[in-house]
Symmetry: C2
Subunit: 298 residues, 2 copies
Amino acid sequence: MDGKRVIGVDLGGTKILAGIVDRDGQVERRREHPTPVASEDDLLDGLDQAVEELLGDDIAAIGFGIPSPLDQRTGRALQAVNIPLTGEIDFRGRMGQRFGLPVGIENDANAATYAEFHFGAARDVRTTVMLTLGTGCGGGAVVDGQLYRGWAEFGHMVIVHDGLPCQGTCTGRGHLEAYVTGVAATKLAHEVFGEAVDAHRLVRLAAEGEERAREILDGIGRHLGSGIGSLVNIFNPELVVIGGGFAAAGDFLLDPAREVVRREGLAGAGARVQIVRAELGTAAGLIGAGLVAFDALA
Amino acid sequence: MDGKRVIGVDLGGTKILAGIVDRDGQVERRREHPTPVASEDDLLDGLDQAVEELLGDDIAAIGFGIPSPLDQRTGRALQAVNIPLTGEIDFRGRMGQRFGLPVGIENDANAATYAEFHFGAARDVRTTVMLTLGTGCGGGAVVDGQLYRGWAEFGHMVIVHDGLPCQGTCTGRGHLEAYVTGVAATKLAHEVFGEAVDAHRLVRLAAEGEERAREILDGIGRHLGSGIGSLVNIFNPELVVIGGGFAAAGDFLLDPAREVVRREGLAGAGARVQIVRAELGTAAGLIGAGLVAFDALA
């Protein structure tokens, strides 16, 4: 280890997580700030402050995880979700100029995948895909040890042709995201149990043996299995990592997913592939942003 | 150009196409043989003969396109379609030993994609995905100038959760392949027009203005659009190439596909991406196998 350290910033819709990351994935001086969403200028000010309070002589680079498909050629965020970051600015270039350091940017779910690959649930495999189930559904892939740096917007694979409308600014129909997030679970829970039961409570009810709650999670898990099945046939991963807050549903979600994946995967891959929960929790994005910063040094 | 030449072999379910390929993608001494399907030994004998009749002092390597997901680590075909090639043998190793030359293997649709990228419809772009619509539906991707050498079995993405059963040995449900091939078109044509009308005739009827024929192709094209939409959100290609015999349906298929892709693609990608027909025809697999042979030299 060369002793170098970097700043990792995980930019989320509600909070900015920042910290100093070393090459072993250890995080120091982890900080959390609410995300300023009033304007793009406010947002950039907030990010600048989050970085500045961590800067020091030993910081070699900065990495950002951003909730958007990116254009890595131009350094721009193309369709940021819930935050006022437009494709008008060269985000990477601006940050590089401002801080005079190498800057790497990556989609937030790609960054989380990279962290799980290096230090988390996928540390013992060479090829993995990850899905993050939260408000939205993000995705990332590591192929033969290399982070796939393209879009990997697996939440926007079509799993039901002409199906449910997608969320937010996405005009798509039947995307995985419309079926497998905490938001989708809350919607189904409301229909069956009324407004008081959200995704979190739904999982608790299932744990207490509530049959209808288990059925809802089973249905969501089976849709998740269709998405994972597609990914198995594209990437043939050894392991699939499920992260994000709604991954707390655990095997209520993953067991039906595994059953469908066994059916969908070619050449026995559906039975071979392991489907497991993420291990790094909310730190995955931050650690992954740090890894992206180290890559920017290379 | 170094003057080196290679042998490319496109192994199909009904015929073996072989030829000598140079670095410009030019094919000489193209030969076609029926595929021996009685046994694996017969099949290997047939391949040996196809290679032997082209061997010469100037041949530097051999490449094979194989209709199966492959294990590139072990050189094996994992689930070959319509041909008696099992995962029991190290195909690449066997061929390398027999001919004493470097041997490359690749999935047949990956090989065709590689050829279209170098010399065909995608020669002016850096990132492309291809779907081949024939008896089955194959796929391949070139990402930032590099052939993606994993499975890329895009025909086995789920586009209808719990949908139509897949073909052959695939146990999946709702895979793209069940909706967009010539076989799928023939099935739909039989239902509407009776047994005399197959996919080929269906396209002719549509060209003659038959409304029901156009509706069938429109429905197939829309399903194709869902599959392409998923690929756009994973790979963000500049261009999507549609090849295989059923691509002859042309804009009867591609126009509805384009409409759905516009809806499904994130960040305007669905409107930006070009969807075009392949240019190399039946030679794509053979030329691509040659490119894979050149890669085996490197």
